[in-house]
């Protein structure tokens, strides 16, 4: 369906109909304007998936409306849990430029997630200071990738 076409990487096979039963799998997405500029699946043990789980992407996309609403209800950057899907929760964080960090996770880890978003925000600022980067450019820096993994192991897994 057209509105989600931009979220589908071209090489991914279709998801099965079954609800995935993963523990400690997190999906992290940075959304600038309307398109994701960075996506990452994080697993316990530091293993990083190369393809994004289709269902996770869909849930995150659906949560965007809730994020938009929540932004205007609080002066905080950390928006905590904005949406739920079965046992998965979407937590969000917003920058002053209204770029949204979304994390899909199971379980409850408020302080950890807050710390994760906060430190990530600093790395994100460094990426933004690159003159070749715009709010719409996809973040392809391997450096940033590695930092995300490190922060994930430190705060979330």
């Amino acid at each position: 369906d057209g509105s989600h076409a931009h979220l589908r990487p071209s090489h991914r096979p279709c998801g099965s109909g079954r609800m995935p039963r993963e523990t400690s799998t997190l999906t992290f997405v940075i959304v600038g304007d309307d398109t994701p500029i960075y996506e990452c699946e994080l697993r316990a043990g530091g293993k990083r998936e190369d393809t994004i789980n289709y269902l996770h992407e869909f849930v995150l996309h659906a949560a965007l409306d809730n994020v938009e609403e929540t932004i205007w209800t609080t002066p905080n950057s950390y928006l905590k849990a904005v949406d739920r899907y079965y046992d998965l929760t979407v937590s969000a964080y917003t920058t002053s430029g209204l770029v949204k960090f979304l994390l899909l996770h199971d379980g409850k880890n408020d302080e950890g997630i807050r710390g994760f978003f906060h430190d990530l925000h600093e790395y994100y600022i460094k990426v933004m200071l690159n003159p070749f980067h715009t709010p719409k450019t996809k973040i392809t820096s391997k450096d940033f990738d590695a930092k995300v993994k490190t922060l994930a192991s430190k705060y979330l897994l």
Binding site: K126, L129, N130, P131, F132, T140, S141, D143
Partner: protein
């Protein structure tokens, strides 16, 4: 030539009247300039050339500023001039400590190396711009400055941290000492 390496007080006296600006502002301004050139000219080679040309225009003016602020005596040779640029000039205008090395036998070619460079803070070259000499403006500045003191040189970036090297390395090559030109014809 001037000796900037002796004593803190002398060095500070030399830097009198040098105003400081926010480094990030400087870095971001230069980044915006490069990006603007890229969107205007598109071809990376053209951008490299333009940066060099802009540097040249800066250099021919900057050298007067430099000479006024530092009261440097006349440089007697290319070797002198290169050392002054590295040890005094770069320090004064960019806060960079640069070293000259790898002189050839007749002292017409050398390398200038330095580790830090405010121009490239936070910069990462994207894949399709691997041929961009992001700091080419520096080559132009040196070329312009030396031309004003009657030395024609060629300057190029040999090693670039944006492309994976450890430090910056510029090559400087003296082409000729230009004779003093009088504006009036002798008739």
């Amino acid at each position: 030539g001037a000796d900037a390496t002796r004593g803190g007080r002398r060095e500070r006296a030399k830097m009198q009247g040098v105003e400081k600006i926010n480094a990030e502002l400087f870095t971001l301004t230069y980044g915006a300039l490069v990006r603007h050139l890229l969107s205007d000219l598109e071809a990376v080679d053209e951008v490299n050339k333009q940066l060099d040309q802009m540097g040249y225009n800066i250099g021919i003016r900057l050298v007067d500023d430099f000479l006024a602020k530092t009261n440097t005596g006349r440089c007697r040779s290319f070797k002198d001039a290169a050392r002054t640029i590295a040890e005094v000039g770069f320090k004064m205008f960019l806060g960079i400590t640069a070293k000259i090395s790898q002189w050839n036998d007749d002292e017409t070619e050398c390398r200038m190396s330095f580790h830090e460079n405010p121009l490239i803070d936070f910069v990462e070259l994207p894949e399709k711009l691997q041929n961009l000499s992001y700091c080419n403006i520096m080559c132009g500045v040196i070329r312009g400055a030396l031309e004003q003191i009657s030395m024609r040189v060629e300057v190029a970036i040999e090693k670039d941290p944006l492309k994976g090297d450890q430090a910056f390395e510029l090559s400087m090559k003296l082409i000729e000492y230009a004779a003093e030109e009088y504006p009036f014809k002798d008739d």
